[in-house]
């Protein structure tokens, strides 16, 4: 049971990323409204999820790579400090990300946009404490015992982490996009859109602090 919490956390963070208008559902709705077609909303979701997944996978790979040679404590501390620094930066400059203008874009560009936004906002970084807490797979466990290498050979587990997170993100993003497009309308943005940039920065700093002291 203790092993289940990181997976649950990946799902919850996926839902959190999915509900953030800046991560893609709003773009999907905008494309649907521009084309006056629900199909356009749905067609935008997969490329956005794909870009998000690649950004997450990048962080997973980096953490895995560093874990292959760095001692666990150093990895934990380094990651925690990176999180705190990044969170503080996002707090001061929430709007800092690659400048993007443009509505008329293809599926590939949409995925690229999603990758850039997820990366610039530190979506993957936010998963750091969960990633280092993921239970190693049986084989990796075995290998780790033999060679003292944590995280090596656990590609299946890492891929599962990316998939679980992205699936949750896609599900929530899709649900919000369709409900807003079909039922609520965009007026909801004026009241219900709390400052997720601020929450996001606080979450990242808190995650860093949590990682540092656990």
């Amino acid at each position: 049971m203790r092993d289940a919490w990181p997976w649950l956390a990946l799902v919850l963070l996926g839902a959190y990323h999915g509900i953030n208008p800046g991560m893609g559902w709003l773009f999907a709705v905008a494309l649907g409204l521009q084309e006056k077609s629900r199909k356009s909303v749905l067609q935008a979701l997969l490329p956005i999820a794909l870009g998000h997944a690649v950004s997450i996978a990048l962080v997973v790979a980096i953490v895995g790579g560093v874990a292959a040679f760095a001692p666990p404590r150093a990895l934990r501390t380094g990651g925690a400090l990176a999180l705190i620094a990044f969170g503080l930066f996002k707090f001061i400059r929430p709007r800092s990300h690659p400048r993007w203008v443009g509505m008329r874009i293809g599926k590939g560009e949409l995925a690229l946009w999603s990758f850039l936004m997820a990366t610039a906002h530190g979506a993957g970084l936010m998963l750091f404490p969960v990633l280092i807490a993921l239970p190693a797979s049986a084989r990796a466990d075995h290998a780790a015992h033999l060679h003292h290498v944590a995280g090596g050979g656990s590609i299946a587990r890492d891929a599962a982490a990316v998939l679980v997170h992205t699936a949750a993100m896609l599900f929530v993003m899709g649900a919000v996009a369709i409900v807003v497009y079909e039922k609520l309308g965009l007026a909801i943005l004026r009241k219900a859109w709390v400052n997720l940039d601020l929450v996001w920065a606080v979450v990242i700093v808190a995650t860093g602090v949590f990682t540092l002291f656990t």
Partner: protein, 462 residues
Amino acid sequence: MPLWNPDPTFYPSARLAMQAPAERHAFVSALNPKQKGSADAICVVDVAPDSPTYGTVVGRVEMPNEGDEVHHFGWNACSSALCPYAPHPHVERRYLLVPGLRSSRLHVIDTKPDPRKPKIVKVIEPETVASRAGYSRLHTVHCAPDGIYVGALGAPDGNGPGGIMVLDHDSFEVMGRWEVDRGPQQLAYDFAWHLGYDTLLTSEWGTPNMVENGLNPELLVGGKYGHSLHVWDLRKRKHLQALDLGAEQQMVLELRPAHDPTKAYGFVGVVVSIKDLSASIWVWHLKNGAWAIKKVIEIPPEPADASKLPPALQPFKAVPPLVTDIELSLDDKFLYVSCWGTGELRQYDVSDPFNPRLAGTVRMGGIVSHAPHAKGGELNGGPQMVEVSRDGRRVYLTNSLYASWDAQFYPEGIRGWMAKVDANQEGGISVDPEFFVPFEGERPHQVRLEGGDASSDSYCYP
């Protein structure tokens, strides 16, 4: 400070913005025509009918230098902050960016906490503008999703090309020149965009050297002032197409794209045709993948006794309408056209943009008619800058164009005023006899309404 909810003045669509509460203050740029001793100002006019100071100037902030020629200005942030590709709407619509059209100096004015006590918080000097962007004579200001865009008439030496520079929307620092490939474009004036089509448009007046010493009759007769519209790729910052209206169509000025981002058309006004002194309105539109332009309104000159005309117009024995500003209501239904020469404001129903219908007209001032206002008496100058409230019910007018041109068309000297016209939503306009703001010794130009107006914001959603 970041906000917890989006700024309440941001609306996803123009349709929703029409439900905004009525404005309570208007910010008006006021030119001081005296060359020495006093500076230009931004004035705050009380436009709340329930206020004891309704219809009077209740605040002002003077520029730190003389001779700026404040003209157009705009907000640091607006509804475009809700655009889906860079949505960060938890910022305030708070700062007015006020360029000096002559000085090229850019002022950042804080309108909070008290809109009646605006303060200058930052000044960008012309040297900085010149070294970072290569531009000069700053004109139009628009808040884009990715920064603040500022149009410029020309280069520091007073020649072309004019263009657009981009400011960071947090620090207001000049980031640089917008254009990557300007193609044949040299002349500049206004700019606007269709966010739903990743398309930017620019219009043409003249270089600083062509306009600063007054309207040059030789250039005019030679068709040398701007007569084209330029279409740009907003993403790639590349010139795509020049739409030439014909050399006789002199000075293609204010651009008013449809507010609904799914509609690919907009209106532009031409000041004067050298063939017959008429003014005209054209519609640009997307047709089979390319942009095209078509004349949809022509306003003829009015015959006049030569003795009542300024020297420049006497040979023609007629007053040109001189369409110097136009404005489109947020529902894309009514187009307001000011005829600064004849002293007329026209309201067109443009529900069908290719077949406009004249829905209403009022007269105020005018070169010959000097049509009076119930409260202001006989007026000079004419309806010039037009601003429409977000709900489309109130239209604010001011009467000064540009100092050196004012002197040619109204040689007796413009006496500054601001007036208000009430608009019937079924069509029809009437002058509000109670609202009249005289600007003694100053000349008002652009009006910006607190919370936004019909030309301050752009929208990414229909």
